[in-house]
């Protein structure tokens, strides 16, 4: 009553319809929606260490993919002469490190032998002389830095007539001396390989028990001991000659460069230049070579590629199998869950070594080493994934939105794949990523222990490389250093990345860092 009196009389014509011509709707939300993955992404990029790890992983993958293509050598490459070479980079060679040099303590005989190689080729084998000392027994030692590449020196090779001709042509065209005069040796051990090819000078004792002590002249220089002949072109040698080969004082004491034998010609080559002739470039191994003469860089990349491929396929297969298995368990529950859980329990308890070994013994002959290893990883690997998915399904299947969807008539399949899966995807992806370093570690361990042998003409594995370096750990640690460093960085990166993903997919951490 009182209210009515307070409201003054408003004439009807003062009223108008304000939305007569407009459609009525809510105001549109202007900001962009942040979805599940976008949200996770925002949280991920804020985690600096995870981003760095992710970048590192990409770099390592690129390394594994690209290096085998651009590398000058392949996994099959085994140099018989350039074994245990030190790492050498053309870029740093002038700066005194990463230059293929190696610190060595040489006794006088070895010191003279090493120096003599340099005298003949004109390349300094000794990069730096640190000091000369005598040990307690009175033996003189030279502490020097030696170029491991130049040190290889000379080798005796048996060439076919065709190869001999080509090599001579190469010398004529480029003017590079590859074939050096043969030395006069009486030692039967010294006729092949590079065992005695470096002794171009007289020894005090030429018998087969020789220790290689040079007979020095009054200036302390070695005395040349080449084979000579009155013929200038003995064994058809009509190519470059070394500078000190001038026919001698009588004009017909020529040095001999080749000997004819049953299959062709026996020559003494400067192996450094011969390598350049064969491979089109000087020997230079960025990570060095191992005891088999393999290029560590190429093998490491090939091994890493194998590890990545194996780990990612295992992870993907486990993702699918574990995902479906866990989904069925978790969604249906009850008796189905009981039975399926017992099966996965038993599989979970089988030690991996047993599975891997039995698969190797049974399947490696039939389907190959790698597939059987893959099967072994998959057989027990999916159990963890299934358990994770099952947990997620138990968590989400009671939620109201699932009930609503079911009420609307959604089928089981639709509920599983459209409604519950997307919600648990974060955990599942994290689990998959965190499983990768485990697979890589186990694979490297198994191949290190020779339980699986992944070594073929085009394959190798990080574990095999580590095993190849173990015998040289005290003398040539670089052989084991690079694979060990690689796998360490790989493991750290994957763990950091996985942890970053886990935090990113965990919505309860939303805004936690702010």
């Amino acid at each position: 009553m009182m209210n009515e009196q307070r409201i003054p009389e408003i004439p009807a014509e003062k009223f108008r319809f304000i939305q007569q011509d407009e459609k009525i709707h809510d105001e549109r939300i202007k900001t962009k929606p942040i979805g599940y993955f976008k949200d996770a992404w925002l949280r991920f990029v804020r985690n600096k260490s995870a981003v760095v790890a992710f970048v590192l992983i990409i770099l390592l993958v690129l390394f594994a993919v690209i290096v085998p293509f651009i590398s000058d050598y392949d996994v099959n490459f085994r140099s018989g002469y350039y074994k245990t070479m030190q790492p050498k980079s053309r870029l740093f060679a002038g700066l005194g490190f990463w230059d293929g040099g190696r610190q060595e303590n040489l006794n006088l005989d070895s010191y003279n032998a090493v120096r003599a190689i340099g005298t003949e080729t004109g390349r300094n084998v000794i990069m730096r002389e640190n000091r000369v000392y005598t040990d307690a027994k009175g033996v003189e030692y030279h502490d020097v830095k030696v170029d491991s590449y130049y040190r290889v020196g000379f080798a005796y090779l048996n060439l076919t007539p065709e190869e001999y001709r080509k090599l001579k042509d190469y010398q004529d065209q480029t003017g590079i001396q590859v074939i050096y005069p043969l030395s006069r040796t009486y030692n039967i051990d010294f006729l092949q390989g590079n065992a005695g090819a470096n002794y171009w000078y007289q020894l005090t004792n030429e018998a087969s028990t020789s220790t290689g002590t040079p007979a020095l002249d009054e200036n302390g220089e070695p005395i040349p001991n080449y084979l000579t002949s009155p013929e200038k072109d003995k064994a058809g040698y009509d190519s470059l000659r070394v500078s000190w080969d001038n026919g001698g004082e009588d004009g017909n004491t020529w040095l001999v460069y080749a000997q004819k034998n049953q299959s062709g010609y026996r020559v003494r080559v400067d192996y450094y230049e011969y390598f350049r002739y064969i491979y089109g470039q000087e020997p230079c191994f960025l990570f060095g070579t191992n005891g088999y003469g393999q290029d560590i860089l190429t093998c490491l990349a090939a091994g890493a590629r194998l590890s990545f491929l194996l780990a990612i396929s295992v992870s993907l297969i486990n993702f699918v199998i574990g995902g479906v298995y866990g989904a069925v368990e978790g969604y249906y529950g009850g008796a189905v869950d009981m039975v399926m859980e017992r099966v996965s329990d038993i599989l979970y308890d089988v030690p991996f070594m047993v599975v891997a070994t039995l698969f190797q013994l049974h399947l490696a002959q039939k389907v190959g080493v790698l597939p059987s290893l893959l099967f072994a990883f998959v057989l027990t690997g999916w159990v963890g994934m299934a358990a994770r998915v099952r947990m997620q399904f138990y968590r989400f299947k009671g939620h109201e939105y699932v009930l609503a969807a079911r009420t609307l008539g959604a089928s089981d399949r639709r509920l599983i794949f459209k409604h519950i899966y997307p919600n648990s995807l974060g955990t599942i992806i994290t689990g998959s990523v965190l499983a990768i370093p485990g697979v890589i570690f186990t694979e490297s361990m198994l191949s290190y222990l020779h339980i699986i042998n992944l070594e073929t003409s085009s394959l190798t594995s990080i574990g095999t490389l580590l095993a190849a370096g173990q015998g040289y750990l005290s003398t040539y640690p670089h052989i084991i250093f690079f694979p060990a460093l690689f796998i360490s960085i790989l493991m750290i990166s994957f763990n950091l990345f996985g942890n970053g993903l886990r935090d990113a997919f965990n919505p309860s951490l939303r805004g936690a860092e702010d």
């Binding site: 329990d345 038993i346 308890d349 089988v350 030690p351 070594m353 047993v354 070994t357 039995l358 013994l361 049974h362 370093p437 570690f441 490297s444 361990m445 290190y448 222990l449 020779h450 339980i451 580590l466 173990q470 750990l473 005290s474 640690p477 084991i480 060990a484 796998i487 360490s488 493991m491 750290i492 994957f494 763990n495 950091l496 942890n499």
Partner: protein, 320 residues
């Protein structure tokens, strides 16, 4: 509680039986390796094979195999290695090396891991915590054989503090001599790194969660000093989770590490297992696979049960 343990143990034996059956059948499907000629032992092995029914159907063989284990605890004799020797006895000879190395490494790791973990939790989000967390991340991730290489190169070779390989028993005198102990240390350290790191991580996570609890505030309010509150209330509660993990580690010492034993030449069960795989000695392989399965299962059970023993709030096996 007793009923729960009984149930778990029975389940464990069932699982072991299934795994054993599968392994046995899979091994028997492989071609039988020939016995190497080596004098008197060949006849022994052949007689043993005859007794084990090697030319009978697989199920009969399995029956004989099980019967021998249950009645005489006889796991067969070595055929390709330790020819003619009882598998179980050889394993028991090797076990002390593995147990000792692992025991030392755990005894070293537990105090260090707990100390670092507690320190990091108390200094949470300060630089000390960040430093420790970063190191933990690195030490957990790097494979233990990398530590082994580093230790072997720097400590054993460069500095010469320890021998490169384990001393032989005849040289060292006894398993517990100082010489033997010091030659075990490189392996102990290599194994210890990751244990320290994971223990640190666990302790830090648990303790920092416990420290935020209301009862911690109450403890301080009623007049306890910070040290008292932490040692009497926080640590005890954190231990509920940490202790089972430590107990699990203790069971795991029987298994040892295959790769570390290989690198340092420790004649333990791990090396024995690797050799049995490489030379295809199926009797050894079978027995040791079961040994490892048992260790895995047993540590799981002990781990679960210890939760109930340590934490009075947890009731085992009750329906509700």
């Amino acid at each position: 509680m007793g009923k729960y343990i009984l149930k778990r143990v029975l389940l464990m034996f069932l699982t072991m039986f299934i795994i054993m059956t599968m392994s046995f059948i899979l091994i028997k499907l492989l071609p039988l390796p020939a016995v190497r000629e080596m004098g008197r032992d060949v006849n022994l092995i052949l007689a043993k094979r005859e007794k084990m029914g090697y030319n009978k159907p697989i199920l009969v063989q399995y029956y004989l195999f099980l019967k021998n284990i249950i009645t005489e605890w006889d796991w067969g004799v070595g055929e390709q290695m330790y020819e003619g020797l009882n598998v179980w006895n050889v394993m028991m000879q090797k076990l002390p090396y593995t147990v000792l190395v692992n025991l030392y490494s755990i005894l070293l790791a537990i105090p260090l891991g707990l100390a670092f973990g507690i320190y990091a939790a108390l200094k949470k989000n300060k630089w000390q915590d960040h430093l420790i967390s970063t190191l933990v991340m690195i030490f957990i991730s790097v494979p233990n054989y990398v530590y082994a290489f580093l230790i072997q190169y720097f400590l054993c070779f460069r500095l010469g503090w320890f021998p490169l390989q384990l001393e032989s028993l005849s040289k060292a005198g006894s398993l517990f001599s100082w010489k033997m102990f010091s030659s075990m240390l490189p392996a102990v350290f290599s194994l210890g790194f990751s244990t320290v790191a994971s223990l640190t991580r666990y302790t830090r996570a648990e303790l920092s969660e416990v420290l935020t609890g209301d009862y911690m505030l109450l403890a301080r309010t009623k007049g306890l000093t910070k040290a008292q509150a932490i040692s009497r209330h926080a640590l005890r509660n954190a231990m509920v989770v940490i202790l089972p993990m430590i107990i699990g580690e203790f069971i795991g010492i029987l298994g040892g590490s295959l790769i570390i034993e290989n690198i340092f030449g420790i004649p333990g069960v791990g090396s024995l297992y690797i050799t049995s795989i490489n030379v295809r000695d199926y009797n050894f392989f079978m027995a040791m696979s079961m040994f490892y399965t048992f260790i895995g299962l047993a540590s799981g059970i002990v781990n679960d049960i210890s939760y109930g023993l340590i934490d009075p709030r947890i009731r085992m096996g009750s329906k509700k």
